[in-house]
Symmetry: C2
Subunit: 418 residues, 2 copies
Amino acid sequence: MDIPKVIREMALQARQAARALGSLSRGVKDQVLLRMAALLEARRAELQAANARDVEKARAEGHPAAFLDRLTLSDKVMAAMVQGLREVAALPDPVGEVVKMWRRPNGLWVGRMRIPLGVIGFIYESRPNVTVDAAALCLKSGNAIILKGGKEALHSNLALARLMQEVLEEYRLPPAAVQVIPSVAREATLELLRQDELVDLIIPRGGEGLIRFVAEHSRIPVLKHYKGVCHIFVDASADLDLAESVCFNAKVQRPGVCNAMETMLVHEGIAPEFLPRMHRRFREAGVELRGCPRTCELDPQVKPATEADWGCEFLDLILAVKVVPDLDAALEHIARYSSNHTEAILTRDYDNAQRFLREVDSSVVLVNASTRFNDGGELGLGAEIGISTSKLHAFGPMSLEELTTTKFIVYGHGQVRT
Amino acid sequence: MDIPKVIREMALQARQAARALGSLSRGVKDQVLLRMAALLEARRAELQAANARDVEKARAEGHPAAFLDRLTLSDKVMAAMVQGLREVAALPDPVGEVVKMWRRPNGLWVGRMRIPLGVIGFIYESRPNVTVDAAALCLKSGNAIILKGGKEALHSNLALARLMQEVLEEYRLPPAAVQVIPSVAREATLELLRQDELVDLIIPRGGEGLIRFVAEHSRIPVLKHYKGVCHIFVDASADLDLAESVCFNAKVQRPGVCNAMETMLVHEGIAPEFLPRMHRRFREAGVELRGCPRTCELDPQVKPATEADWGCEFLDLILAVKVVPDLDAALEHIARYSSNHTEAILTRDYDNAQRFLREVDSSVVLVNASTRFNDGGELGLGAEIGISTSKLHAFGPMSLEELTTTKFIVYGHGQVRT
C-alpha cells in the first residue's frame, strides 16, 4: 500500500464530504443515525464474526484479559452502541444555531452562527465501540471523520465503517464522511498528522503515551487530554456525612478512570474527627492510603507519602491524603499538582465555595459533589468525544458544540465603511 | 545574552503573573488601563525620543517610507494608543461571566464560566503602537502577554513596556504581566515557540511569511491569519445602485487591507448592464481590471485575467472580475478560491441571501454590505487582536472573548455518581 497516497486521497475525499455534510438538515442526519442503529442490530452476528477474528488474534498474541475485554463487541457492547446512536440522534443539532445576534449603530444585524469544523482525525486504541460513538458525534455535528484505531481492532473497525458507509450511500451521502484507515502502520498515523491543509482537528483518545506521540508529531491542532489528577478539599465546615459519601464515591466507585479522586486535602480543623472515620471506609473498600506527616500522626496505619505521590494519577485503589492549614494552602497545592482536570471543595462556607469555584484553574470545578461528574453525559452535554485538559477551543468534556465553531453572519441594506 | 535562559525565565514569570491576573476585578483592570493612558500622554516626549532612535536607524538602513511611517510614534499615533486604552477600559470584562447555567435531573447546577487563557505570546512586525493595543486586550481579559515585535522597533517597544510595567507595579501587580523580549534575534522567537508548557497561545500578526514561519516552528497552538481573498457576488436581482456603492467601497476605500474585495463575481443576467457602469467608476478611481472572457467581451477595455488572478490577494487597486451563470457557480468559485476570510452577496432574493449566508465557509459572510466590515470594532466586539482564518477556537475577528475559554462550575449538595 502506498500509504502517503492512500491517506492523502482519504483526506481529500473527507474534505469534499465535509462540504456536503455541512448543509444537511437535522432530519436527514437523525434518520441516518437511526438507520445505522437498526442495521447494527440486524447485522450483529456478522459484525461479531469480524470482531472475533480480531479477538482471537489478540488472545493468541497474549494480550491481557482487560485488553481483550475492551476489544470485544459483546452483546452488551453492541446494545450500548445502538443506544448511543439513538441518543445522539435525540440531541439537538448544533449546526446553524445562531448563538447571538445584535444590531450595530449603522443598522447592520450581526450574528454568530454555529458551523462544523470540517474534517476531524480521530486516533484511538483498540476499542471498536468507540468507532461508532465518535462517528455518530461527528456526523451529527456535520463533520467528516477519519478514524485510526488500535491495530488489534482493524477488522472490527473496517466492518463497522462499511456498515455506516452503506447507510450513507443509501441516503445518497458521501461515504467518505466516515472512513477507517485500512492500515495498521504507524506511518499511516504520521501521514494523517501531516494533512494540515485538509484536516482541521486531531482528537487522540487513549493513554498518555499515545497522546504525547500525537501531540509531538501533529501539524494539525490537537485537543489533548493528558491525565486526571483530581483533588477534593474537605473544608473545616464540611458536612462530614456528605464528605464521607462524596469522597468515597470519588475514589472507589470506579478508580481506574480520569475523574476519580487521587488526592484528598483535609482542613486541619476537622482532620482529627474526619480522617479516622473516612479511612475506615476506605480500608473496608481496599483503598491503600499514603499520607503527609500529620495524616500519619493522626492515623498511624497510613503509609507515609513520598513526593511522587502528590500529583500522581494512580488509576487504582490508592489515595494520597494531606492535611492543610486552610483554603489558601489547598489552592496552592492544587495549583502546583493538579492536571487542570477536575477539583472539588466540600464546604458549608459560602465565601470558600465561591473562591474555590473562581480560583481553581480546572476544566470542571465542583462544590459539594463528586469529581466523577466530569463527563459529558453527566453534565448534560450528551455523549462526549473526549475531555480537553488544555484551554484552547474547548476545556473539559467535548460533545457536539465543541465539534463546531462560529462564523459571523451579517444582514445589511447597502452599508459601506467610511 | 543566554537566550534560552532569558526566554524560559520570562515565560515562568508570565505564568505566575497570569495566576494573579485571573482573579482581578474589573475595577482594578480598568484603573490600570486608564492610568497607562494618562502616563502615555504625560510622557509622550520621552517615548517619542526612544522611538526616534528606532526611526533614525531604520531610515539609515534604507527602509521605505511606508515602513518608517508604521514605525513612527507620531502625535496622531500616540493619541490613538491613548484612545485605544480608554476604549478597552470601557469594554465589558469577559472574565467571570457565566455564559449559561442549567439544572441536571439530580439537582446539580452546571454552568460555564469564562476564564483567561493564561499566557499569550504575540509576535508582530515593527509597529510599536500594536504593543500597547495588544497588551491592553490581554490585560483586560486577564492574560499575561509576552511580546516579540519587529527588530527595528526594539527601543520603542521596550520604552512602552517599561511604562506599562511601572503602572502595574504602582498597583502592586506583577510587572511580568506585560513583557517585551529584549532581543532581536530570531532565536528568541524560536525559543518562545518552544515554551509549550508555559505559554498557552501564540498570535502572530504581520505578513504571510511571518505567519508561516511561526506556524511551522511553534509547539504551541497558533491562531493564524493567512490572507484575505474576499469575494463579492452581485446576484441577478441586486439593486444596481447599492451594488455599485458597496463594490466601490469594498475595493477602493482602503485597497491594501485584508478585508478589501479582490474578486467580483457578477451574475450573467445583469452583467451587460452592471459591468459598464461599475467599471467606469473603478477606472475613475484608478482600479486595474482583469476579467474572464465574458467580462472582456462585454467590456473590451478589460485585460484578460490569468489563472493566477483568481484567488490572488492583490492588496492594491487591482480587481479580478468574473461573470457566472448562477448562484451555484458563484458558490463553487468561492469554495475553490476564497481564503475563508470574508465574502458578500448583493441580492434582493430572499432564498439566495439565506443560502449564501448558510453555505459560504468564511469567517464573515455578509448580505448587502461591504466586505470592509470584517473588523472587531465594526462588528461590535471592540478592538481586535487579530482575525483568525482557521476555525479552531476562533474564526474571524478576535477580541476580548476570544482571549478567554470557559470552565464548568458545578453547585451540588452531596451528589454522587451511581
